[in-house]
């Protein structure tokens, strides 16, 4: 006989440590005692993303969430809720978002990701069944191009590719000059070069039609008949799904000539990039589409007026496009109700690093970092301490625990010395070395610099060398001054955003973690134990029980000691691999 009710008990990290196991046992026992084992199934689940409110029990099929449950509440859950059919108000989750859906607790709303994980990305009819192409029909048959742009203005949508420029304004610039040119182009920036970011790829893989529909809308609004999607060749699955999507759209008369029988023509071509970060910069991207080397050129003139082959060109990011059809369909006012005063709508973040629930997160602008990291991300694994979160990739910076409660939007992130960027969010814990992380980003910027202008080419390399020196224990106090002195001219004199932003990680980490730089320079110490040259591993004889695990695992055979006697590491021969540290179950190996 099938079960009538299910009690799901979270056994995620944090609920587990809040004794969810006992609740699970108590529920099982109560169900068995009442002889209801045939009707009620009690199961353990993965994290619900509501960890700060744990332990969590979810009741199905009515989808009720109970938070902060105690073993003493078990009787009430079974008797009042399951048998009596009464919700227990005091335990019920009271999410702050409006609406009846208990899933509101997750603080996420899916607009750009609305179809990801819901539809088959290779079947246009499923997209159509989920509002697909309703916005395009509405725009072409009921709205003038200027109305479409006006709706975008009302929505307050800003570019999701990094800088946050108002999307409607870009479209309007192009719209206003379109008559002076024989052709206008619509370009989608799917380069996505930021380390740790993969939201654009996921949108293209999960819902390619939404981008095609929005580009066609842009074509209608800006008087263009030709679009290009610039995507890196390293994204084969996204490319394949785009091709499938395009041919299906053509088959249904949604792309190509005479779209929906309206007389409007628009078609899209895919251009593959070789995966150079600088090719995400808009002018470099356009050069690359033209078949030139992907190098930036000075702006103005902006692409909106003088872009691809000198013609007016709208260039937007994938996630920006993914929002547009819903805005046209539901109206700009609907969209502008979500978010903060100056940053409307939602933002997709790729949450990675030291976090329990890594993944894509789409939250309204104004959500705090704490909500993202703890409520949605489930906090830091293994009970480690949160150190910082890096946002904005190589153009951004770090945000510390002091600012976890800042509502995130474009302005607030910049005020904290970081950036929205494309939405990579890398969480760091006490085991991450800030100087090392900064060096990683600098290395990235130096590697990816196109070399066209001196401040970026030379300045970036110099800064990297200084960071390298510091992590090797050869840093001096002057080095900090040099870093600061190099940063400002580089920001001012570089030609494109890559060079202008390259010093950001340094300035940001110097602002919040100067003490960690000083530890490397003055004490020759890496507090996180990451910078190999500055680390020594020692065994605490008071803790070591002489289990011999470390000496057996050490690849260089430099740990000695009798069984059941304290062991000892020969510092001369130690290669600092850290295997003994990871292997010791007793915490006897210390890093200094």
């Amino acid at each position: 006989m099938p079960y009538k009710n299910f009690c799901l008990v979270c056994s995620g990290n944090q609920c587990e440590s809040a004794k969810s196991e006992e609740i699970f046992k108590e529920l099982k026992k109560t169900v068995t005692d009442l002889n209801l084992g045939q009707e009620i199934q009690v199961v353990k689940t993965g994290c619900f993303g509501l960890c700060t409110q744990g332990p969590i029990v979810k009741i199905l099929p009515d989808e009720t969430f109970y938070v902060g449950v105690d073993t003493g509440d078990v009787k009430a859950i079974i008797h009042e809720h399951i048998i009596g059919g009464q919700t227990i108000e005091r335990l019920k989750f009271k999410g702050k978002a409006p609406g009846k859906d208990p899933r509101h607790y997750q603080k996420q709303i899916r607009i750009a990701l609305r179809n990801c994980g819901v539809i088959n990305p290779e079947d246009i009819t499923e997209y159509i069944g989920r509002d697909g192409y309703a916005a395009l029909g509405k725009a072409i048959f009921e709205m003038k191009p200027a109305d479409v742009i006006e709706e975008l203005r009302k929505s307050g949508l800003r570019g999701r590719g990094g800088a946050g420029f108002p999307t409607w304004l870009k479209w309007k610039f192009t719209h206003d000059v379109k008559d002076q040119s024989d052709e206008v182009y619509i370009v989608c920036n799917a380069d996505e070069g930021d380390p740790g970011a993969y939201m654009d790829r996921s949108i293209l893989e999960g819902d390619p039609q939404s981008v095609l529909e929005a580009m066609t809308l842009a074509g209608y609004a800006c008087g263009s008949s030709k679009g290009y999607i610039y995507i890196r060749a390293e994204y084969p699955l996204a490319i394949e799904r785009l091709y499938t999507a395009m041919s299906q759209a053509r088959e249904y008369g949604l792309l190509g000539d005479n779209i929906l029988g309206s007389g409007f023509n628009f078609d899209i071509e895919i251009r593959l990039g070789a995966g150079a970060f600088v090719c995400g910069e808009e002018t470099a991207l356009l050069a690359s589409i033209e078949g030139e080397r992907g190098m930036p050129r000075p702006r103005p003139p902006f692409p909106a007026v003088k872009g691809l082959w000198g013609k007016p060109t709208v260039i937007n990011n994938v996630e920006t496009y993914a929002n547009i059809a819903q805005i046209i369909l539901r109206g700009g006012d609907w969209f502008s109700q979500i978010g903060t005063e100056k940053s409307k709508g939602t933002k997709v973040f790729a949450l990675t690093g030291k976090i329990n629930n890594s993944g894509l997160v789409e939250v309204p602008m104004g959500t705090t970092l704490r909500e993202i990291i703890y409520d949605i991300g489930g906090g830091i694994p293994k009970g480690k301490a949160f150190k910082a979160v890096q946002t904005g990739g190589p153009s951004g910076g770090v945000i510390t625990a002091d600012h976890l409660d800042t509502p995130i939007d474009y302005e607030n992130l910049v005020a904290l010395g970081s950036m929205m960027g494309s939405g990579g969010m890398i969480v760091m814990d006490e085991d991450d070395c800030i100087v090392d992380v900064t060096k990683f980003y600098l290395d990235f910027s130096v590697e990816e610099s196109c070399g066209k202008c001196a401040p970026c080419r030379i300045g970036g390399r110099k800064m990297y060398n200084i960071l390298n020196k510091i992590t090797r224990g050869n840093g001096t106090m002057e080095d900090i001054q040099h870093l600061k002195a190099l940063a400002v001219p580089m920001q001012k004199a570089s030609l494109c955003g890559l060079g202008q932003a390259a010093p950001n990680p340094i300035l940001s980490t110097l602002r919040y973690f100067e003490d960690e730089y000083l530890a490397h320079i003055q004490d020759k110490r890496c507090p996180a134990g990451v910078c190999k040259a500055l680390v020594t591993y020692t065994i605490d004889p008071d803790i070591c029980i002489g289990c011999t695990v470390c000496s057996r695992k050490c690849p260089n055979n430099c740990i000695t000691g009798e069984r059941k006697e304290p062991h000892f590491i020969d510092q001369e021969r130690c290669i600092k691999c850290g295997i003994c540290y990871k292997g010791c179950k007793f915490g006897a190996v210390k890093i200094a």
Partner: protein, 135 residues
């Protein structure tokens, strides 16, 4: 006069909308959605897909529709699989190995009970409205 292309698309939309909706309530239709974005595939979604196909064939279960979809957003729990069937709530399973796939078929689909330890929640609320006239 024939139907305009716009009418045709609108008609298809209504039909599909209902179909997407009725899928849930369709008496003997069981749906298995497998998250097949790049990261899903990297963590073994293709093997999971194959395993489901094999076991269903072995068992002679034919009323199942296996569909591939993009990332569900639960990257930490990949491979992820959502099961929709009558008489059971929609459930997302994560960390689905071959063994878990076997359990999902035996327990969830055949036995109508949930598989312990592998249930994860939907990553977010979604903005596309369900059809109201369908109920």
């Amino acid at each position: 006069m024939g139907q305009t292309p716009l009418d045709a698309i609108n008609e298809l939309r209504e039909k599909k909308r209902l179909e997407l909706h009725y899928r849930k309530g369709n008496e003997d239709k069981i749906e298995i959605l497998i998250g097949m974005g790049s990261s899903g595939i990297a963590s073994g979604a293709k093997n999971v897909l194959r395993t489901f196909n094999e076991i269903l064939n072995e068992r002679g279960i034919t009323n199942v529709l296996i569909r591939r979809t993009g990332s569900l957003g639960l990257d930490h729990a990949e491979p992820t699989v959502e099961i929709k069937m009558t008489g059971m709530p929609d459930i997302i399973y994560g960390k689905v190995t071959q063994d878990v796939a076997q359990q999902i078929i035996e327990k969830h689909i055949i036995g109508k009970e949930l598989v312990c330890g592998h249930i994860y929640d939907r990553p977010a609320q979604d903005v596309v409205k369900e059809p109201t006239h369908a109920l």
